[in-house]
């Protein structure tokens, strides 16, 4: 703010000096010009009256001739004074308006406003660098979860779009290049509440500069990056970027998992879902021969994973030479029946349309389905706004890189233990996954489950921490009891318990809670609030553990103690 005031005054100097001088000359002149009293005595206006007259003629109010009717000479001077002061005012106000409209000044005002809103943030926030399609999706998902983002993008149109987006919380947005370290600091990198930086930049080089700057300027702040190419990924990892997400790799990994163990895939899909939608239908990609159209970054990632799972793929690629397609590749775009027949579409079990062009992808799948109606269809969707046509096409699986990235980031932020849990599930077999699927659906019902973490600490669970320190036996079962009626269970399931170096997968409800424990739960939406309530409120905790409804407040407490004594 001070910058803005300084800038304004610096440029207002000339008009203000003009205004003061005009007033001074007009007032002095009015004092010097001779006048007459009604009795015909010669009279000079006093400074006080002169200033009064100039004050009301300047803004063209005009109260008449005070205290006596003016002489001809005085009227002549007042005429001059009126024009001079009015012009001085117009000059001053005109300059002020011109400054306020000036784009350079607006930029300073916006920057100052942004600085202030960042400085005033009193809750953990994330800096989102890049507000393109994926960035916008991520920001919306974050605000829906009640997490506050701060946005930096070099495109002013996008920042304008952010302002009219209608998000549930006010999101400060700055139009600046995020690869400039100073911009990152302005966006709150050194703010004590900065919980992380998320780079969703179009340019890989920008992502790299952001990650390097964050790691050097604020090593404690976790950095989440989206990478498109393997070498960027390796580069980011080399200096300790906390989380690197490559949406294509993530999708390919999940897809391979779906081929290997459908139940495991379902657990993944449930736990990393973003909205409280009805449970997704189980996806079971058939084993057999697959056709892979487009051998770009996505095609390569898919082929690598599928080959590892022992699934045979036939690649269809328009430019096999440039993309270094493997032997046996069918040259062509795949949008024509001829190419697809050449790739043996009648015998294939599934087809993946992975080119970087949405209409082509749809065309490939529709043509293929006409040739073989039993195909399992997988499409890559490049533009978010094409979602309606992808939905209308009724495909088995659609990959939208933006949604995948958003889900991954949300998972990292809202349930940091989820990554640990998912990593541990990889060691389990299909039977284990099937049991877990049925347990989750028994607890949650037909809704997509929510996942959340609970730390037995002062901030998130003060009552629980105190009870545990006093030696009260509190078990996981107590936490899972409904604080409104203790005969009922909360619709939730403990997934993971982390204690010092120990990790317990799917802990039992009889397990006692200890101070410092970190727990991961999944359950029906809204259950987190009830559980948090139990953990934070002494009376509720006493109710779920012992069943006694403790009196509230000092007076009732005292009375109750007297009665028992």
């Amino acid at each position: 703010m001070p910058d803005v005031i300084f800038l304004l005054f610096r440029r207002m100097r000339a008009p203000l000096v003009t205004l003061i001088l005009t007033y001074a000359v007009a007032t002095t002149g009015l004092v010097l010009v001779p006048g007459e009293t009604p009795d015909g005595e010669p009279w000079h206006m006093s400074l006080f009256h002169a200033f009064y007259v100039v004050s009301y003629t300047g803004p063209t109010i005009g109260f008449g001739e005070i205290p006596y009717p003016f002489s001809g000479a005085q009227r002549l001077w007042v005429m001059f004074a009126i024009y001079a002061t009015v012009i001085a005012w117009l000059y001053a106000i005109g300059t002020l308006l011109a400054i306020l409209q000036d784009p350079a000044f607006r930029r300073v005002v916006n920057l100052s406003h942004f600085r202030r809103s960042v400085r005033r943030l009193a809750e953990p926030f994330y800096i989102v660098c890049g507000y393109g399609e994926n960035g916008a999706l991520l920001v919306r998902a974050l605000t829906d979860e009640g997490i506050r983002p701060v946005v930096v993008d070099s495109d002013s149109d996008r920042i304008d779009a952010l302002k009219v987006e209608g998000l549930s919380v006010e999101v400060p947005g700055l139009c600046a290049r995020a690869d400039d370290p100073e911009v990152l600091v302005t966006a709150g990198l050194n703010h004590p509440d900065c919980a992380g930086v998320i780079a969703v930049s179009r340019e890989e080089a920008t992502t790299l500069s952001i990650a390097v700057a964050c790691k050097l300027l604020a090593p404690r702040v976790p950095v989440i990056c989206r990478a498109r190419y393997r070498d960027t990924e390796a580069n980011l990892a080399s200096f300790g970027t906390d989380h690197i997400i490559n949406p294509f790799d993530t999708f390919a990994e999940r897809f391979a998992m779906a081929v290997r163990s459908p139940a495991m895939y379902l657990i993944y899909a449930w736990l990393t879902g973003i909205e409280h939608q009805p449970v997704a239908r189980p996806v079971v990609p058939p084993r057999g021969k697959w056709i892979l159209c487009g051998y770009g970054r996505f095609g390569k990632a898919m082929r690598e994973r599928l080959t590892r799972e022992g699934v045979e793929t036939v690649v269809v690629e328009a430019e096999p030479g440039r993309t270094k397609a493997p032997l046996g590749t069918v040259a062509g775009r795949g949008t024509e029946a001829g190419t697809l027949r050449e790739a043996d579409v009648e015998e294939a079990m599934g087809i993946i349309a992975g080119t970087d062009n949405d209409p082509n992808n749809l065309s490939i799948l529709l043509t293929a389905r006409a040739l073989n109606p039993h195909l399992f269809t997988v499409a890559r969707q490049c533009r978010g706004h094409n979602q309606p046509i992808f939905e209308a096409a009724d495909l088995d699986l659609v990959l939208d890189a933006g949604t995948i990235f958003t889900r991954e980031v949300l998972g990292l932020i809202t349930a940091p233990l989820l990554g640990d849990f998912l990593a541990r599930t990889l060691d389990q077999d299909d039977a284990w996954a099937n049991v877990l699927v049925s347990r989750i659906s028994a607890a949650v019902g037909d809704e997509l489950p929510d996942t959340w973490s609970l730390t037995v600490g002062q901030r998130s669970a003060p009552a629980l921490l105190e009870a545990v320190r006093e030696g009260a036996p509190v078990t996981l079962g107590h936490l899972l009891t409904d604080p409104r009626r203790r005969e009922r269970w909360l619709p939730a399931l403990p997934l993971l318990l982390k204690r010092a170096s120990e990790e317990v997968l799917l802990p039992e409800t009889e397990l006692a809670v200890e101070a410092g424990d970190r727990l991961l739960f999944c359950g029906r939406a809204g259950t987190q609030r009830l559980m948090g309530w139990t953990a934070a409120d002494h009376n509720l905790l006493a109710y779920v553990t012992t069943g006694e409804d403790r009196p509230r407040g000092l007076l009732w407490d005292w009375l109750a103690r007297r009665r028992t004594a």
Binding site: F6, I20, A24, T28, L47, F48, H49
Partner: protein, 127 residues
Amino acid sequence: MNLEKTIFAFVIVLAMTINFGFFLGDIDNPIHHNVYELFAAIVVSLIATVMKLGERTQIGALLLATSLVADVQLIIGAIVWATAVHVLETGLTSHAMAAIVSLSGGALLANIVSVTLLVAETIMGRR
């Protein structure tokens, strides 16, 4: 030699000298203190204030503060004068005059600080 700096220094020193001229004389004697001089002191002091606006340096901030002090003191003095002469119509009694002059004395002190700062800055920043 810099025209802008010359004008800047001119206004600031003029604000002090006019202020001093008004202040000079017996504190309660209206003959020694001319009201037009007070008017001129206010005008020059206001211009000096505007000149100092927008300086981002530490010295600039101090200069602005001293100027604002002088403005406030002088304007209060003018209000006392207007009240005595035109509102209460008691004329410039020695009591009123002493009040006005002592207020302008305060403004003079602020102006002296201002000029001292200006001189100090010039000496420090000699190039």
